[in-house]
Symmetry: C2
Subunit: 187 residues, 2 copies
DNA sequence: ATATCATATAGGCATTTTCATATATGCAAC
DNA sequence: GTTGCATATATGAAAATGCCTATATGATAT
């Protein structure tokens, strides 16, 4: 899957592994992430498959850069992935829910502390998305050489981030209240 | 992480790998899943670590079962995981959002078809959660030998499933409309 | 009769992901 | 001066995960 994230970005313009890491961290972080070492490995694999090409670019004052460029085969591969029907939901893995599920094995106080901690993290994430203005997205779009249609899709993923975090915070608040009430009834 | 899911269930009562697969598929599927072969591997690892023990149970008319039982060390390990603070959000991986992000590379018709397909899958998932009555949860609880407090936590994870699917469908509807409007404007 | 399904365990292989580490440069901080 | 940070690439080891296959039994379906 990371393969397509890399092809997707290289479809805009040539980039290095380091560039891609920064771009992923700032734009797809909330629905796709990757470790720097994994990015380098995947780029090598893509070059071996002939989906991208690379060339070394010397820099004064900084280490050499290996710049990757997408090939026609790469573009075709990306396109066929984009068009392939998605017949399944992406399965979720959510550590907090796993913990909550088994939380009868510990004290409500311990659970509440963790829920409150998570609330603050998700509040931060929400603020991050809300702080992204249309001007920011426009700026990213220009840097990537993106088309007007890109802005629509990029904003849709940003909107998904907002809805997700709002939902998550709502669930946390609800759950914190329910556990607190349960605790009061016990007394 | 699967390790703790297995310890969590074995903390209620002794179970086989096959049992655990069925239980995970019916109760934690929407926030934690695992392949059967992965479950068997993890159980072996847990036994080697001394967190669980196993014994063979012969059955007439069916293959022998290897029944796993949690040890005191296993219980202690589970408890310390439950109490450990969770300082990070679980990172998401969502294929649909990755595709949408790069969808300027294909036709809006192709994107819309995939969004509608996903809508039907998420609608199904929502119906599944809404169909789970308190009686069903009560039934599961009795089978597992669970305490009253468990029902509260289990229902919280079910509620998370409902909110998540409602949010997802809302985002899909919004996004379908926005892409459709964009398409009309183009004409 | 034959095929498939549910039960039950497990090995093998490849891929994916994470974590730690190594190298190299130049700049800023202390 | 030396420590740490940003830039830049990469390897190695280990863990986690996913997919396929093999084995065995009895029941059910066609």
């Amino acid at each position: 899957m990371l393969k397509y994230a890399l092809l997707g970005f290289l479809n805009y313009r040539p980039l290095t592994g380091y560039d891609l890491k920064r771009i992923i961290d700032t734009s797809t972080r909330h629905f796709w992430h990757a470790d720097l070492s994994q990015i380098y490995k995947t780029l090598k694999m893509l070059e071996t498959s002939g989906l991208i090409m690379s060339s070394i670019e010397a820099q004064d004052e900084r280490p050499d850069r290996r710049v990757y460029t997408i090939t026609d085969a790469g573009r075709a591969d990306l396109k066929s992935w984009l068009d392939a029907p998605l017949l399944e939901m992406t399965p979720l893995k959510e550590v907090l829910l796993l913990k909550v599920f088994f939380s009868a094995g510990t004290s409500p106080e311990s659970v509440l502390a963790q829920l409150r901690q998570q609330r603050s993290l998700h509040q931060q994430a929400l603020a991050h998305f809300q702080g992204q203005t249309p001007a920011d997205i426009e700026h990213n779009a220009q840097q990537m050489g993106a088309q007007p249609l890109d802005a629509l899709y990029w904003d849709a993923t940003r909107r998904a981030g907002i809805l997700y975090e709002e939902m998550y915070i709502r669930w946390l608040d609800e759950t914190i209240i329910r556990i607190s009430q349960q605790r009061t009834e016990r007394e």
